[in-house]
């Protein structure tokens, strides 16, 4: 799968166009807006944060640019489908820009920004604008080109002499999951010393689960295929008499989400076992297909 050459210009160009249009529009209102303008409203709806129009524009531009770049980098790395990437960057830029414009529109003509109250419809309008732009950009995006992936080479079968036994053992670790578990453990420990300690306990529990299931040991032998996590009580596998074939397939864990549902170990009737390395953005997996169990 390769990106169409128009993908990146769209993913970066739409947010950029939104920023330019927004800045030009807001500049044209310059004389009608209070100075400073309100930038934040409290729970009661009263404005409690103020800054100059120039600074607010710079902040909005910076936030949209940084978000766009982070999304493009992450989605490219993860081989997320082109339409999701362009839709997300365009939609997010439209959401931020609309929120910025609606909040300023309400302040037009006011002499003191503090008199302008927050209106939740601003968020509603921004959400609708974001979704509309995301949908439109996604539709306009040329889908990724399927490079006509070469048929999977069959792995050479291991020839065993009579009286021989063979076993293959491998371990896969999802480092991202492990890092997430470590981060959650730190957050959980911090929360433990605060009045919200029950939440800390829950976070520590989730961290332990993530950590324990980040690493899997896979064994293939005359018994079939087995995979177990660190707590060895959790075992998945396919008995040898149910295995009808084995092949190495290339999947994008997020790009082919419908088929594979992200990283991890899969166990089901059709794709009975599948494991992948979290390090690779597009990784090789071994899929063992099995027939219906009798």
């Amino acid at each position: 799968m390769t990106r169409h050459r128009s993908t990146l210009p769209l993913a970066l160009g739409v947010p950029l166009a939104v920023i330019v249009a927004t800045v030009l529009l807001v500049r044209s209102w310059h004389g009608d807006l209070p100075d400073p303008v309100a930038t934040h409203w409290g729970a009661s709806g009263r404005a409690d944060g103020f800054t100059s129009l120039g600074m607010l524009t710079l902040l909005m531009t910076g936030v949209v640019l940084v978000l766009t770049l982070v999304l493009v980098a992450a989605f490219t790395y993860q081989r997320v489908p082109a339409r999701v990437m362009t839709g997300m960057t365009g939609g997010l830029a439209a959401f931020c820009a609309t929120l910025f414009v609606t909040s300023l529109l309400a302040q037009r003509g006011a002499t003191d920004a503090a008199t302008v109250r927050f209106d939740p419809t601003w968020i509603g309008i921004a959400l609708v604008a974001g979704l509309l732009v995301a949908g439109a950009v996604a539709v306009l995006t040329r889908p990724d080109i399927d490079a006509g992936s070469t048929p999977n080479e069959p792995s050479p079968a291991l020839t065993l002499a009579d009286g021989s036994d063979a076993v293959w053992v491998g371990r896969v670790t999802n480092r991202v999951q492990l890092a997430g578990a470590a981060l959650l453990a730190v957050v959980g420990l911090v929360l433990l010393v605060l009045p919200v300690w029950p939440i800390g306990l829950a976070v520590l529990g989730i961290s332990a689960l993530l950590g324990l299931f980040a690493s899997w040991t896979v064994t293939a032998g005359d018994h079939g295929l087995r995979a177990h996590a660190v707590p060895a009580v959790v075992r998945l596998g396919v008995p040898v008499d149910e295995i009808t074939g084995a092949e190495v397939v290339q999947v994008a864990p997020i790009g082919d989400f419908g088929d594979f549902g992200g990283w991890g170990v899969r166990s089901g009737r059709l794709a009975s076992a599948l494991w992948s390395s979290a390090r690779a953005r597009r990784c090789w997996c071994t899929a063992v297909t099995s027939g219906p169990s009798s």
Binding site: D162, D165, V169
Partner: protein, 116 residues
């Protein structure tokens, strides 16, 4: 890590298991700190006695290729990765010998002479 044992071979099973792990160390490029499968798991999968695998692991520990730690099992040492590098040099030597059409016994005698 692929381990093959041949029950009809004259080589003892523990030596075959050790040889399998040794080969896997350089072929799979295992990094220091990588944990090997537990002796219990390996014994069950290969259908050999637990003590056979433990003896193989002890042999590899004596060779400095793995460390046996209580609670952590068998862990690949830095020494094992040094050997993986050495193995790559041996491959180069063999390739060069084949290119020059030098037979195996001559290569072996050259290596013995160099080691002497």
């Amino acid at each position: 890590m692929l381990i093959v044992v041949d029950r009809t071979s004259a080589d003892p099973l523990f030596a075959q298991v050790a040889a399998g792990v040794r080969t896997a160390l350089w072929r799979d490029g295992l990094t220091p700190g990588t944990r090997l499968p537990s002796a219990k798991d390996l014994a069950a999968t290969l259908d050999v006695n637990l003590h056979t695998v433990l003896k193989a692991y002890q042999l590899l520990r004596d060779e400095g290729l793995i460390e046996l730690r209580r609670g952590r099992g068998a862990v690949v040492t830095a020494r094992a990765t040094d050997l993986a590098g050495l193995r790559a040099s041996v491959d180069q030597l063999v390739d060069e010998a084949r290119r020059l059409k030098v037979d195996g016994s001559t290569v072996l005698s050259l290596v013995k002479e160099a080691l002497a």
